[in-house]
Symmetry: C2
Subunit: 274 residues, 2 copies
């Protein structure tokens, strides 16, 4: 979905650009070809990379370290590599020692619980935030070329360090996946036949609990410290609710729910950051 959406958007915005797609498995090639954006699709890294100007890695983050060494030989010396991984420090740690100044990490914050080329959409990145995470050594010209690429797809680009990106996304993205999963499990463990008693609230709140288990295991383990902290903070806030309910403290409960409403509305405002 992530890579396919980039292909569809590129094809729409720049029909003459040559778009080559690499896939690990032969079985994936027919779906990619059917999506209609690829000039060529192949399981040969060499065939896809030779002469490429910009390479975008859209694999799960735990696969990227193995890819780094495989990219280097076929890559042109003036080519740049970026990625769409949900965590950035582990990706930089794997890529930068091998690819040096040719790698500029990125994370377009867009997606859903769906996966696969069939879920790709040409407008996935339209209006999305893309965080670009250069190192202090990254050449400005390389940062600017990668930034221009993500902007061309429709993203608003924000630049920050990989560490800062990971600390923030632990709260805004990784924790929500843990919370949705824990909520779905709590209800289902209490009784698995309560389908008739869930409403729209449960449905929306647990949508991302249907996400890919392998993908999210990789993301959480690549951002262990911040994710652990975010889970601990949510447990503490749940404890505030629990104590207020147990002690029948209406004032505290009202204050907690009012804070939650303010928080939710602030974080979902369509205005630019405050």
């Amino acid at each position: 979905m992530i890579g396919g959406s980039i292909g569809l958007a590129l094809k729409e915005k720049s029909p003459d650009t040559e778009i080559r797609v690499w896939a690990r498995r032969e079985a994936a090639l027919s779906g990619i070809t059917a999506a209609g954006f690829a000039t060529m699709a192949s399981t040969s890294l060499d065939a896809v990379l030779r002469g490429a100007k910009l390479v975008v890695l859209c694999t799960p983050v735990e696969v990227m370290p193995d890819l780094a060494a495989l990219l280097l030989p076929p890559l042109d010396s003036d080519a740049l590599v970026t990625d769409a991984g949900s965590v950035k420090q582990v990706v930089l740690d794997a890529m930068v020692p091998v690819l040096k100044h040719q790698f500029i990490g990125a994370h377009p914050i867009a997606g859903s619980d769906r996966a696969g080329i069939e879920a790709a959409r040409a407008d996935l990145y339209e209006g999305a935030t893309c965080v670009v995470t250069p190192t202090s050594d990254s050449p400005r010209s390389a940062v600017e070329r990668v930034t221009a690429f993500w902007k061309f797809l429709g993203c608003r680009v924000i630049e920050m360090s990989a560490a800062e990106h990971d600390a923030r996304l632990a709260f805004t993205s990784h924790l929500p996946h843990v919370a949705a999963a824990a909520l779905a499990m709590t209800v289902d463990r209490s009784a698995p036949d309560w389908t008739d008693f869930v409403g729209g609230g449960f449905r929306d709140s647990t949508r991302i609990a249907a996400s890919n288990p392998d993908l999210w295991t990789g993301i959480l383990l690549a951002n262990e410290t911040s994710v652990t902290r975010s889970i601990a903070e949510m447990q503490e806030i749940l404890q505030e609710f629990r104590v207020a309910v147990e002690s029948r403290d209406a004032n505290t409960l009202r204050r907690l729910f009012a804070e939650a409403r303010t928080s939710r509305n602030r974080l979902n405002s369509d205005l630019d950051g405050i």
Copy 2:
């Protein structure tokens, strides 16, 4: 929204039925009249209730005890009273001693984070589950009349005790509201200016955190024991995730996320209960 949607649905399905609306505040009457379904709208309980065949209470649950005594004098002896409250035991405890066999509690599981007559929709109850909660003394004829009313609005009706209803809804509805609120607060307390870093996952997972604080304070305190238990169970499951992340236990994390996906898909299946 709850009462207005009943009015709109009734008007659509049975245009000749007389629909009278009572509101506590004079200021609410113009909105009700503008919605177009009411034969009359008034702040006089007496004027609205006299000669009524079926009365549907759509107030917050904490208001219902005060209403019970006010309903009795004007009510016809063959009239029935039902309600749309999100908890049932406290409502029955307040209503049945006063209204006796004339009260049959109900909870149509439908709604959203929105409120007020402007959010009313004629199709809100179409396909929704409505739990009807008679006591062991309730006359079958009364239960059947109230059941027929909710079915007429489009609901699938399930009958169970008020206590059983409350124990289930603590998990399927009340806990999701606490979880959404806690998640929004956790992210916002960590840094209130992270609007650019939230994606669709956070947005969906926290939609119901924007719900009315007074309403949900009332609901939680009216279902204290079961809500406390549901929060405790979610805290424990969050702890399973936290330990797995901290100890870098990929197998356990993968198993937890896989369980969550199964749970989510089972509880949101459109098939009838398993």
